[in-house]
Symmetry: C7
């Protein structure tokens, strides 16, 4: 099953921030400080006014609470408009 | 009797999520977790600004509370603008 | 006396839903479940932006509370914009 | 003294509804049921976007509370935009 | 000193309504009933969207509370957009 | 250090109204009555929609509370859009 | 890792105002009076409607609370639209 967003919407998946210390110990408690990171899962076709600037796989920042949360096959996604994405994080 | 939506509106029918275990037992109690799935029942002609991107039979996600609930011949439908549909679920 | 709506407005008359049992008995108490049905009584000329899609006699669905109620010669009408009509019910 | 409304505004005068019984007795108490009827007193030149559809002398329906009440030479008028006029009553 | 309003603004001076009886006695107490009359004192150049329809000296009606009150050389003026002027009173 | 406002913004400096009596005595207490006067300190380049109508040195009236107060090198300025300037005072 | 803002957004870094007395003593307590200064860290490509007027390294003034705070690799940034930047401070 796949999700095809309409218009200038994208589907994103929130990234569970995991912090690893130098010794390799995972500190999940530190995750609370990065609530706005996500990965692009699907990109709509755009509209006459909006050209899509992101692609599947991009890591992005988005403002908390924007978009609509949906749950498909037990996984949680957020569907929002590209306008609500603030920036792409390049590695 | 048929419903013909005006402009860029569509008529959808909420999908009653039924969960079936491997042994085939239906678990209707699990239905509460997918409140935003629906099937397109009728599609308006669109407007000069909005081209219709969905067709009758599409399974779609829509944000809770959007649109207007109507009851025709004892069945409940929701009429909303295509803009309020978030994504199409492809099988 | 006739009502001529301006611009993209239409005049509608709420349909009093009457339920008839198989034996022909009218059950007006059941009427509360269809509050959004009406018949088009008059149609404005439209505007440069809005082409009229409904005609006099159409049975339509409209969202509760939209439009303005007026009383002319002891009959109640609702004047609203075509935009506020959700769909036409075809028989 | 005359009032010349600007742009797409019109000046209207609320019609005091008087009810006359068959025997000719006036029942002013019944007037409370028609609060939205008025006569067009003056019509603005319109704007580039709005062409005037009403003329002086037209009897119109308008939504209660729209417009601004003004008092000139002891008579009360309402100045509103043509947009706020719902329909013309034709006799 | 002169005031030059910008864009589609005008400067008006509220008219203190004075009522004179036939015997010539001024009744300033009656002034409370005409709070919306003013005289145009200065007219802006207009904008690409708004052509000025009033000229200095016009007596106009404006809706109470619109615009901004300013005090220059001990005189009170109101600066508002032409849009907020309802009508010109012609004598 | 200089401030360069972006787009259709201007930087203004509130004028401290000082009243001088004929004998030359300054009455700063009278200053409270002219809170909306300012001098233009810097003018943005304008935008495609907005052509700048004011120049550095102009004395202007602006509506109280509009714009954002900033403090640079211990001096207070207000940055606002030209749209928020009501009028130029010519001497 | 780099941040690439979308559309007409920019990424800024709040400047910690440090006050140095003539004798060279830093007075961080004085920092509270300049909360709106920042340095441009990244600039989006702009949109069809908005041409970018700032560049990386510009010192700018922005209105408090505008934009969204994000934290990347333990550093705090603010992402906002160029529209929310008031002025560039030139040295």
């Amino acid at each position: 099953m796949q999700i095809r967003p309409l218009g200038d919407r994208v589907v994103i998946k929130r990234i569970e921030a995991v912090e690893t210390t130098k010794s390799g110990i995972v500190l999940p408690g530190a995750a609370k400080e990065k609530p706005q990171e996500a990965e692009i899962v699907a990109v709509g076709p755009g509209t006459e006014d909006v050209k899509m600037e992101v692609t599947v796989g991009d890591r992005v920042l988005f403002s908390k609470y924007s978009g609509t949360e949906v749950k498909i096959e037990d996984k949680e996604y957020i569907i929002l408009k590209q306008e609500e994405i603030l920036a792409v994080i390049e590695k």
